[in-house]
Symmetry: C2
Subunit: 271 residues, 2 copies
């Protein structure tokens, strides 16, 4: 068995950002006695990541030799293409982790994508078993190899095309970036009163999350816009304009969106 | 002690909607040997609520007598004023539960507000101990009586003026209605692919929630708009316009909002 393990070779995590910091321990946990090593262009970043997990690190113009059979590319979107091309090698599996970069077929070796639907941060430990991993390969063999690796990391692994991943990534921007922005605005709104903490919204947000993530198909939309309660909407618009203009754009757009869906729902009752 | 209890009299829940369904068991739990009863204009609704919790119910033109010393008004915003006025009585405490209706001083008796920051639904049991209750009274005595009652129901009770409650309610619309709308849009977006479930976003949404509810003051905003990554924004805008126009308004407004905050944050580094 030792022979088989050494034949599959070492794993390299290419990059030293937030995603790399999550991937190194995840790969260590599944690597058996094959080694996990890291690379970053910057020596300082590579050394810090290497020290954080006690793994060998490389930097600068270093290139992986034949011993590295799996390379996981965890770099910013704009650097993915060049990194994947640089890592191309005979019999090597190159996996990138970007939601918005299509699969990049390589003439030599295997290539594909393993996209985690999560927002990582160095200080936060994320339980990767609960993070869905979306897999695509340049061909069947690449897909199957990535799928097998992903299944050792997470219990939620799915196959998804580049086109599907584009939608998934767009959904991720909405769920993560847009919802965060709304919460940041609510936090600022409460500060003016001195009596409202953003944590006061926790129970309400949990309810929203339970309803929003239930796949029962029925709409659980509530609120003034769903009720077409123009009096409350008008009063809130005046409050926003006068005291909190930063919320105006989001308030108008989200209210319009709910009103439009409500109109469709009401009209459908008459058809 | 029995004498003291009977002196404080019965509690009446006025209304038979989602809030009333949550308040009846909460009041039963704190009422000791004083009784909780319910009223709804509609006989059918009153009977259903009464049967749900085994309490006496009233309907139609019935008016509470002197035995009812606490009345909790849980009716739609538009009906609050008339209900509070109807319930006015000597020595009686009338409490309404609306986020957007100011405190209504009564010449006889006491009056005020106990606003729960939660979205209730008949089928869902909500743990009121974790739901913040915001209290206001027409005077000190009213405030103190409502505050004492609220403290028996929830461990998060705060005093808040009508003006503060208006902001709180606006924040509730953002946290509940707007976030729900975004999740509904993401659910519809995923349906087109056949491979994405809305529950796939659970881990990401939990992370968003943790960051958004932390009161550390620092911005944890991420994503293409925060990075001012116009290439990704442009690509997503084309995808939205072509395949998912319903998301266009929210996408543009939320992206603009993040871009504007990012610009302010970047500029502040140069000042």
């Amino acid at each position: 068995m030792a022979g088989e393990h050494s034949r599959v070779g070492k794993m390299l995590v290419f990059g030293a950002g937030n995603v790399a910091y999550s991937m190194v321990p995840a790969l260590q946990a599944v690597s058996g006695d094959r080694g996990v090593e890291v690379y970053s262009r910057s020596e300082r970043s590579a050394a810090a990541l290497g020290a954080a997990y006690g793994v060998e690190w490389h930097s600068g113009s270093w290139m992986p030799g034949g011993a590295y059979t799996v390379c996981v590319v965890a770099v910013p979107d704009g650097a993915v293409r060049a990194s994947v091309e640089r890592l191309e090698g005979d019999g090597r599996l190159v996996i990138h982790m970007s939601g918005s970069v299509p699969v990049m077929p390589l003439a030599r070796g295997m290539s594909g994508v393993m996209y985690p639907l999560q927002s990582f941060a160095k200080g936060e430990r994320s339980d990767l078993r609960e993070v869905p991993l979306f897999v695509e390969g340049q061909d069947g063999a690449s897909h199957d190899a990535i799928f097998a690796l992903a299944s050792k990391i997470s219990c939620k692994v799915r196959t998804l095309s580049s086109a599907g991943r584009e939608r998934l990534h767009l959904g991720g921007v909405v769920v993560n970036n847009f919802v965060y922005r709304l919460l940041a605005l609510v936090q600022a709104l409460g500060k003016g009163t001195g009596a409202i903490e953003v944590t006061d919204y926790e129970a309400l947000l949990k309810t929203t999350m339970q309803r929003g993530l239930s796949a029962d198909g029925g709409s659980r939309q509530t609120g003034p816009a769903r009720r077409m309660d123009v009096e409350t909407i008008g009063r809130q618009l005046r409050l926003v304009q006068k005291e909190f203009p930063r919320l105006l754009g989001p308030y108008v757009a989200m209210t319009e969106s709910i009103l439009s869906a409500s109109k469709d729902e009401e009209l459908s009752k008459w058809r």
